[in-house]
């Protein structure tokens, strides 16, 4: 674990060294400026398709209770 931590840090150190003389610039978060964040609502999915999706979802889910609800495994970190 220590070795993985050390190698994770190594790239950060290399980056700091490589970037030290570079000019300050505006950051690039995404390469394209045209975001489709307010796309209009389309037609609702047909009921038949939704029913099929529910069926597939229930068939694939790892576990269910008596009423057919998805049984969730509690993460270790959430256990007291």
């Amino acid at each position: 674990m220590k070795e993985i931590e050390r190698s994770a840090q190594e790239v950060i150190d290399s980056f700091v060294e490589a970037a030290k003389d570079l000019p300050e610039l505006k950051e690039t978060y995404y390469n394209q400026e045209a975001y489709n964040v307010v796309s209009p609502d389309g037609e609702p999915t047909p009921e038949k398709e939704r029913a099929e999706f529910r069926k597939r979802f229930i068939a694939d889910m790892p576990g269910s209770d008596d009423q057919g609800n998805l049984k969730v495994e509690v993460a270790k970190w959430a256990e007291r």
Partner: protein, 455 residues
Amino acid sequence: MGRTLEKLDSINRGELSAVDNVWQALERIEKLDKKINSFIELNSNAVAEAEAVHRRLQRGEKVGKLEGLVIGVKSNLNVTGLRATCASRTLDNYVSTYDADVVKRVRAAGGIVIGVNNMDEFACGSSGETSAFGPTDNPAAPGHIPGGSSSGGGAAIAAGLCDLCLGTDTGGSIRNPASHCGVVGVKPTYGLVPRQGLIDLGMSLDQIGSIAPDVVGAALLLETIAGKTQNECVMLDVDKARYLDRLGDGVKGMRVGVSQKFRDLTDPAVMGVIDKSVEKLREFGAEIVDVQLPNLERGLTAYYLIVSVEFFSGTRKFDGRKYGKRIEDVCGEEVLRRIMRGRYISQKEYRGKFYQRALQVRTLVRQELMAALEKVDVIVGPTVPKLPHRLGAKLTPMEMYAYDYLTIPANLAGICAGVVKAGDVGGIPVGVQAQGKILGESDMFRVMHVLEAKA
């Protein structure tokens, strides 16, 4: 004519049925893939899906560009009923309940999904060795890595196990295996192909693209999957893409950029093969122009900071509460390394020390590439600076990351880039990379087509 057109032609003329094409692929996979390990799971409905395509063809219905072709899909893309594991124990029992947009488009065009390809775990790797389902061998250079992270796709095409593959490319993950396996691989312009249904490595860098035995196949698959959709929030305003029409236009009069920086970073044996490709372009009428890319190599560490932060953020949902297992409990070393790095940077990010600074370096690399591409139509150079190592050889993380020096800049800049085999060094394939402008795929394919014909 090339493998893809020959196959399509024989399906069209009824000499080969879509069903027989699927059976042939299944037989080859059965025979060869135990050793190669390029598929994680096969689609048990593939034959039935091929029968449906066959019936439509027999009725004389128009099926689509990929009619009857057999397609492999990288394991980080959702395909209804198949496991989307990302080659990780984290999701080894996660069955997709829907098709990614690109898979929907492939099916609508008559393509038949044959199965799910192996890959580096969560796309974290450049060698194809970090999969929880075991490493993939390189059919073009047995005993060597096939490259990654789309290792299964590159190897499956090289071995002729399927006709085309969908891969993903965040820092070279399509182009690197294409180069090592001697096949064609294309990373499209960022925002050209919808990412809906892709399990991200780095959301601001990932693009879905094509892996194919020839340039026609890569162009055909990209034409099929490109174009905007309302399901995707970061997309270019492109309805449809057409590349095949101009594929044979040649390179006469085109301006092709080359950079001294490529030579500085690349093994001389690899560079010798690339020089011959550049010379061919000159012979066919292209004007070769020197371009300056002074900070190209600085993109490498900036990329690994950015991708680690985005990966750390993107993997917080894998907490084992609703599905799968907690990622940190079961993942491999490289995935853990990136999560730890991303967490560290996120915790220590004050006054723009790391992440913000990396995004500034991204701007710098982008500006330099854009300036170069104002002078030329495409930039041609090596894909990977060195030959692939032998499977199982021990490399440090920094040595492994060094495979990505020449592919990362295209992702940082969001431009398109494609790879085609240029030749070999001692029998090991070497791919030449053509980097194009934003939405410059058409010019990029023209150059690749000439390079392919003359390889």
